[in-house]
Symmetry: C2
Subunit: 123 residues, 2 copies
DNA sequence: CGCTTCCAAAACGAAATGGTTATGAATGTC
DNA sequence: GACATTCATAACCATTTCGTTTTGGAAGCG
């Protein structure tokens, strides 16, 4: 997933209305009126949110009659999650060598006058 | 994690500069100049990004002398990841009953004239 | 004390975001 | 054909975001 795609997925997820829409879509596809119903917001506002979600690849849309159905697309969600998982060991490991290094580092900041990085890593 | 916190974490992650800064911090704490170095961007711009990251709880900052060191805080990343896990089964299961329903759905869009949702769910 | 280094804050501008109302296209119904 | 329903688009507005340049405070160094 490109940097731009990641950015648009996270940006789409940054809005609570859009997250609520995604949750609604876990229960099945829905048209605009159904998606708009829980919100104190005009129909065009919801349509705009749907366009943002579509732009991020988080939903796909199909036209049936006059209705436009939104469908959850999970792949970008998976890729955004995979991205965040790359930081897993920073919350996962309670005290591996990296954590030890960082702890020492923090405890003795004055010492690292010129050197900030380490030799421990994979990202 | 509150809705607002989630929003601010995702918003912080939506910028490639800020994501790069987080990655840099996986290699150890760093001061502003070090963090700014890879970017064609002024120092105040980087300081602003750091403030956004701090606001999202993704970094903490400590003052040593004239230097301000940034430190990666992984907990919000964990919580955002936990949030995303709620969608996991939409990409995880290769062919459970939900996937089957959705696949049929996609393959035959014209057919779902009036019915949009399902009876399968837990969210 | 004077100078330099590190960085935040202020003031500004351009563009994006999130909402509104008004309109109209497309489709199904009477 | 006239009407109602569903929804997108356009035009607009307020606010936020992301960058800039300028300024100045705080701490170490000569």
């Amino acid at each position: 997933m490109s940097n731009d795609e990641l950015s648009s997925v996270f940006a789409a997820l940054a809005d609570p209305t859009r997250r609520a829409i995604l949750h609604r879509l876990t229960q099945g596809d829905a048209n605009v009126a159904e998606l708009a119903e829980p919100f104190a917001m005009s129909q065009p506002a919801v349509s705009k949110h749907l366009r943002v979600l579509e732009g991020a690849g988080l939903i796909s849309r199909s036209k049936v009659a006059t209705a436009r159905y939104s469908h959850l697309e999970a792949r970008p969600l998976k890729e955004a999650t995979d991205y965040m998982e790359r930081f897993r060991r920073f919350w996962n490991s309670s005290f591996d060598e990296l954590d030890a290094a960082l702890a020492a580092h923090t405890a003795d900041e004055a010492e690292r006058a010129g050197a900030t990085d380490g030799e421990k890593n994979d990202d």
